[in-house]
Amino acid sequence: MSSAGYAAMAGGNSFWEKLKSWTPIFVIAPAVVASFVYVFVFSGWTMYISLSDSTLLPTYGFKGLENYASLWANRRWGVAYSNLFFFSGIFVLTTMAVGLLLALLLDQKIRAESFWRTMYMYPLAVSFIVTGTVWQWLYNPTGGIQFLVQSMGWTDFEFALTTDRKNAIWAIIITGIWQSAGFTMALFLAGLRSVDGDIIKAASIDGASTFRIYRKVILPSITPIFLAVAVVQLQSAIKTFDLAVALTNSGPGISTTFPATYVYDLMFQRGQIGEGAAAAMMILAALAVVLVPYSMYLGWRRRREVARV
């Protein structure tokens, strides 16, 4: 029942009663207004700046799509989005594969499960900045992994990702996977545990092997989770920023530029606010390309479920 309806039921016609019935609306008004400003006004503002002639400071002379044109003509932006495609593809698939493997291992009635789980998930509590800083040391050829393996006798071993233009992106990929495979593991594990135990029991009484039960019964019933995990990982890949800053700072050269690091660079290092805003809008567009179809799919599935019931 609506709050106004309750006031009527209480028989309150006085001004005070009426005011009281509006309490919920008054109470959430600040939060709603703030969210509205944040979601719509901020993105509208940035969009406007992306169409303006802003350089060092925001100005409001209209320039049309020129900023977008010069952004897409820029070689560095080309590097940034091809990096994003390469990184996203490998990052999403590998975090899902490793996360699923870990979840399946943890699902085998192992001892001290929470100990193992805690170990794989602690990176999620610390920042990409901390992770990136420490991994940057590990990639350091004169003290990190390369040094360790060489000092153990394999003197030709080479593992100097962060100083190598061609392979520096792998440093970000590996660290990204290390940081967030525990997250996909948690989601998959929650999914595995949510499968109806009776179905599994029935299948094992029928003589199906554990492998077969996973392949034919459990994994098919958690397909929505695969999709959810893929979407969450993809949207976090699109936002990649901290890790690239802490690990390689977009280098060597411009080889590990990402859209998000390039936005920062344009806005605050080169004083090209208009073009930076255009790049930020492109990130928003990429997120929309992922999230809009997904939320439409979720809505469709919910309606279908309701119809079925």
Binding site: S2, A4, Y6, K20, T23, P24, I25, I28, A31, V32, A34, S35, F36, Y38, V39, V41, F42, T46, I49, P58, L101, L105, Q108, I110, S114, W116, R117, T118, M119, Y120, M121, Y122, L124, A125, V126, S127, I129, T133, V134, W137, L138, G143, F147, W178, F183, L187, A228, V232, Q235, I238, K239, F241, V245, N249, Y264, M267, F268, A279, I283, L284
Partner: protein, 302 residues
């Protein structure tokens, strides 16, 4: 013929033995893989922890990944109060306190606002409240880059540019989408009849909130507080863009530290500094792990 009947018992045994062996092998594979990943996961923590106690000379000689041969505490006080970052030689403490001053109020305010907003959007629905909820949810996906220029402009106008309080404001509003989502989804599970009965008894908006909703909310409030605390503590983009110098949070200071172009990298002190920056969220994780994981999975699946 009789042979076959006689040998049936040993054959069964053999089969059981084979199954047992197969079971043993699969256990070895499972624990072997778990340990393999465990080593990969612990190695960076191990490196940064031990190196904070090793002298720099030993690190340069034996590499970063090695067992400590000597043990000393010098790096910690240096990292805390003496280390130079960007020309200021006062260590991490300044930035640590900046982060505390930012994270504590921002966590409390955004959680309180989320709880009340979630309460209204689940128990005092009105026409349009679902649309409002949907709009607030969009905030979950907004990339920070979109908000940078507007925030810089607004904070400048209201006199909070380059201030920790400015970051408090930013994180309160940034976090609102998450805190509202968490609380609203939890409150939806509270039976409406409970609220209805209280209303009939004459309880008002606030009374129901304090007497009925809050007493059963600690689980979701803990999840929300942990989510906000770790998220805000670990945030970097706003900290580095909106604040500078001595007003930056600890994440920005860590980046400045590892990029400061000194010829010799003081890995011992830097390790201690990194641990100082990582410790608060790690402690939260180790003591509230269950709630932390619940937040992660709920935040993802919605």
């Amino acid at each position: 013929m009789s042979d076959a009947t006689l040998s049936s018992a040993p054959a069964l045994d053999l089969e059981a033995g084979r199954a047992g062996r197969r079971h043993l092998i699969s256990r070895i594979v499972i624990y072997g893989l778990l340990t393999f990943f465990g080593i990969i996961y612990l190695m960076p923590l191990w490196v940064v922890f031990f190196n904070s106690f090793r002298p720099l000379a030993e690190i340069s000689a034996n590499g970063l990944i090695a067992f400590p041969q000597t043990f000393r505490l010098d790096a910690w006080p240096q990292a805390w109060s003496e280390f130079c970052i960007g020309g200021q030689c006062a260590g991490m403490q300044r930035y640590f306190w900046n982060s505390i001053m930012m994270v504590v109020p921002a966590t409390i305010i955004s959680t309180a606002m989320g709880a009340i907003t979630g309460y209204v959007l689940s128990k005092w629905k009105f026409r349009g409240s679902e649309i409002i909820f949907g709009m607030m949810l969009l905030g979950v996906f907004m990339p920070g880059q979109i908000a940078l220029l507007p925030w810089a402009f607004i904070l400048g106008k209201i006199g909070l540019a380059n201030s920790v309080y400015g970051l408090v404001l930013v994180h309160c509003i940034q976090g609102l989408a998450f805190t509202t989502l968490f609380c609203r989804n939890y409150f939806v599970g509270i039976p409406d009849d409970l609220v209805k009965a209280a209303r009939i008894d004459g309880a008002g908006f606030w009374r129901i909130f304090y007497r009925i909703i809050l007493p059963i909310s600690p689980p979701i409030l803990i999840v929300t507080v942990i989510w906000q605390f770790t998220g805000i503590w670990n945030e970097y983009l706003f900290g580095v863009v909106l604040n500078s110098g001595a007003n930056q949070p600890i994440t920005a200071a860590l980046v400045a530290l590892s990029m400061s172009g000194t010829t010799v990298r003081t890995y011992d002190v830097m390790s201690a500094a990194v641990l100082i920056g990582a410790l608060p969220p790690l402690l939260v994780y180790f003591f509230g792990g269950k709630y932390f994981v619940r937040g992660l999975t709920q935040g993802a699946i919605k």
